[in-house]
């Protein structure tokens, strides 16, 4: 259970590299600065790739939750 509330949720379940990152990029573009995007992924690669995306683009990875084979990321738009 995450401690932050999302403004928008993106579910990439079943998709593999590079789609979770590409869809995250598109989804975050639709948010306002400071809003939180929740990204759900089943791709184990996204565990490293989403933080790398955040590191590169300057958006803040606020929290990561792992539950039942799903990786859930909370990203705050810069």
């Amino acid at each position: 259970m995450a401690s932050v509330t999302a403004d928008k949720t993106l579910d990439t379940s079943g998709l593999n590299c590079p789609l979770p990152v590409l869809k995250t990029k598109k989804a975050i573009e639709e948010l306002q600065s400071g809003q939180i995007l929740e990204v759900i992924s089943t791709d184990p690669g996204s565990k490293a790739d989403i933080p790398a995306f955040c590191n590169r683009t300057g958006h803040e990875l606020v929290e990561t939750v792992e539950e039942g084979g799903k990786y859930i990321f909370y990203i705050k738009k810069k």
Partner: protein
């Protein structure tokens, strides 16, 4: 002018070799890096209207291919039995499969199915995602002439054909240039 630029050279025209340049380019663009792919030699097939749909995996050209059939194929009822039979009859390295008529098509179909099951985008989808992300797709002028490909044979939305100088200039205009060869 861009501070960072990534340029990828795509030279191979098989299904498996089409993926690395497209995945790297679309992702780099999503990470805010100006990106271009230079399609040369068989890499041109990735952006050729007809040939794009016919890309195949080639067992002959893949001596390092660890397996003839993906595990998920072996689990499917009919294809799995056929795969098992093929491996029993031809127990050698997977390259041998390539000389059996129809085998390349069969293995390509199996690979495409496996990819779909694993949520891997198709080549066409990835090319579209590259275009959406403003990746510059540059066909090689010299190879087009060599292969007899017209600009209109290629997919829409490409940059004008360019040569080696165009490509090198694109990369070195950036403060931090990077080239990947695939």
């Amino acid at each position: 002018m861009a501070s960072e630029r990534l340029a990828i050279i795509a030279t191979k025209g098989t299904l498996d070799w089409a993926y690395p340049p497209l995945i790297l380019a679309s992702t780099a663009a999503s990470l805010g890096v100006e990106t271009a792919i230079f399609f040369t030699f068989y890499g041109l097939n990735i952006i050729h209207k007809e040939k794009q749909k016919q890309l195949k995996i080639s067992p002959v050209g893949n001596p390092g291919m660890p397996m003839a059939f993906p595990p998920s194929v072996k689990k499917t009822p009919i294809a799995g039995q056929l795969a098992g039979l093929m491996e029993a009859v031809f127990p050698g390295p997977p390259q041998i499969m390539g000389i059996i008529p129809g085998m390349t098509d069969f293995m390509t179909a199996m690979m495409k199915k496996t990819m779909k099951d694993h949520g891997v985008a198709s080549v066409e989808e990835l090319v579209e995602l590259c275009k959406e992300a403003d990746v510059k797709l540059i066909p090689c002028q010299m190879t087009m002439e060599l292969f007899g490909y017209k600009y209109e044979d290629l997919i829409d939305g490409l940059e004008p054909p360019g040569g080696a100088a165009t490509f090198i200039n694109y990369v070195l205009e950036a403060d931090k240039p990077m080239i990947i060869f695939t």
